[in-house]
Symmetry: C2
């Protein structure tokens, strides 16, 4: 097969707010080869990721992603690895390229899975996809009452685990944070798994993060996620040494395998969280999962958008039976829900399992996407480089 | 002062080839505040960096860079630090933001320097700018004869140091590489400082890089630069342990302070090379220079484009007397030369010193830029987001 076309669809809610809610827009990718199509999704900033596909070349190590992908051969997983390696060298100086290629890479796996009538996790070498325990991933409320209500809502829907993140946490007093943590625990109930996401708010200030450890332990939080900038490994490691029962999680910012490995090796995190829409797709995420498993670190997906992204992000560790927990967008905006025709729903045990279907097992909804399609036009050097088309 | 306007000018040679020559295009930034202007330059992929300035917001941690910068107060260096910290949090999920902000940050320093009638290096806390020994930075030739001629040309122009990089190196046989290294030494002469840049060609294959160490030592190469992907710290450290007289250099891929620090801490490089057009501008580069000096690592600028970028990249270590060597674009394309009215030229000793002039001390040439100006238009959501204007 030849990769004949790569098309991008920028979807957005009519209004985008400055809440830390990553489900407000999406960049969906369709790859066509050999009469088949595959679908993927890039995480964050659709217009910029489109630009990284269509931009004119700056030099031999700063090509647009299109120059590496279009017209190339796709017969099996080795071709995906070959293209990924070429992106690393030929798009070396184009920072955004990793995010752009991530969605394409997912779509290539989806397409291969459809060609071979096989779920992607089996193409990755797993025999079986084990059930995962989804945590309802949501933002802290503006008030403790809202936080309590959010956690209660998740519990009422059968979730046994909840993550609260961003919002006011770390921005006010210690007492404010403690009130939110207590409220979260009350809403979730005594038995539930409580996870907390600081959204990098402590930058690299270990003392400020450590001041929250006692109240996190008091609320029975399993992990504190992303207390610091993604690359501040020394701070992660220093906090981990003081963490006691509260473990440190992070990794979503990784835009290549090495960044995730280093957060394990030097940041000493206990949970490594990977977004397949950022790290370069499914194969580098699988490499992280293998590395984590060998080093006693638990792999977790990072997903705050659609169920297409959710499926892609679960594939890399589908076969790791002991890596049980998974992020599950709890209150996504309608664009993230409507863009797929099927969804990955919790079963009676409150667990989720990947679709037993070819590729990513997710059918996109072209009608659902059309409602949110954003018009974009990019031209340079006298050429039209991109114009939105309907899926 | 309020930051009233940030304007981008995408310049390009009429033809851009796939040679590893980063001087074929440029993205120049002009910032206006308080009746003054400052100028900076982003490294690589102009269209994508423009898109990261104008793109619609995706969510509260994925804003366009414009949302952080426009209308903000600029009175002194603390304001630059404040804006940089906001970019890290508010543009967290927009990967390209670091490259976009880099050029803006340079322009903010240039503007402050003009306001206070002070060179930027003095605003950074240095009393004096020491002379640096420039190395003529160029690509390997396609043949050893071309490599020899390139090094000879640099020597004839008074350069006492030369770097050859990219091109065929590491792509053919060991004998081919040895021929190029010997030719480089012959062209440069016995006394000259020879530096070699592998352009990440060995990915993370330590053995392949190590196989070149004996011939590098034979040719008297001082360093081997970027043998591996920017983040493959284990490979850097492993090669360094075998390096003997050949030291390892790297760091140009760093898009924040932490990445550079980690290449020092874990990659164990002897030379840390920072591009101010990528790392977020001049202040994070200064922080790297301070860190390097404290840890016995030599700081070197990475510059392959214009003399505006060259001045910006020399400021962060201008006052470090013992960090002597500097990268100097030897055969830049005409766009990189013509865009500034003045240049930083070697003196009779073959050394270069920063201009004793306010800001970056470089005057852009609006006429020089106009010749290379690329027409770009970006629109989304029914709005024109960017259209090229004349400087």
């Amino acid at each position: 097969m030849k990769i004949e076309a790569v098309d991008f669809f920028y979807l957005s809610m009519p209004e985008v707010t400055d809440a830390g809610d990553g489900s407000q827009d999406a960049l969906v990718v369709r790859v066509a080869a050999g009469g088949l199509v595959g679908w993927g999704e890039c995480e964050a900033s659709p217009l910029v990721s489109i630009a990284a596909f269509v931009t004119p070349m700056s030099h031999g190590a700063c090509k647009p992603v299109s120059a590496v992908v279009l017209g190339e051969t796709l017969e099996g997983p080795a071709d995906i690895a070959r293209l990924a390696a070429r992106v690393e060298l030929e798009c070396m100086d184009l920072l955004q390229a990793a995010h752009t290629f991530s969605g394409i890479e997912m779509a290539l796996w989806d397409l291969l899975g459809r060609r071979f009538d096989t779920p992607v996790y089996q193409l990755l070498g797993y025999k079986q996809a084990y059930p995962k325990l989804p945590y309802a991933s949501q933002l802290f409320g503006d008030t403790p009452e809202e936080t309590r209500a959010g956690c209660r809502a998740a519990r009422d829907k059968g979730f046994r685990a909840v993550k609260c993140g961003w919002g006011p946490f770390g921005r006010g007093s210690l007492a404010d944070d403690r009130d939110h943590l207590q409220a979260a625990r009350e809403g979730l109930g005594k038995e539930g798994t409580l996870l907390i996401d600081a959204g990098q708010i402590f930058i690299e200030n270990v003392d400020a993060a450590a001041a929250r450890l006692p109240m996190l332990a008091e609320a029975g939080a399993v992990w504190l996620e992303e207390p610091f900038l993604g690359g501040a490994y020394e701070a992660y490691a220093a906090l981990g040494r003081q963490g006691g029962s509260v473990r440190i999680a992070g990794g979503e910012a990784s835009h290549n395998f090495h960044m995730a490995r280093q957060l394990i090796d030097y940041g000493k995190v206990s949970y490594i969280q990977i977004d397949c829409g950022r790290i370069g797709g499914i194969a580098p995420a699988k490499r992280v999962a293998d590395y984590a498993a060998r080093h006693g670190v638990t792999y977790v997906n990072h997903t705050f958008t659609s169920h297409l992204a959710l499926s892609a992000s679960l594939q890399p560790y589908a076969g790791l039976k002991d890596h049980v927990i998974c992020e599950y967008p709890f209150t996504p905006k309608s664009v993230a829900w409507d863009m797929t025709a099927n969804h990955i729903l919790p079963d009676a045990n409150g667990e989720v399992t990947l679709p037993q279907a070819p590729g990513l097992g997710i059918t996109v909804s072209e009608a659902g996407m059309a409602k949110y399609l954003v018009d974009v036009e990019i031209s340079a050097k006298g050429k039209l480089l991109y114009r939105t088309s309907r899926p």
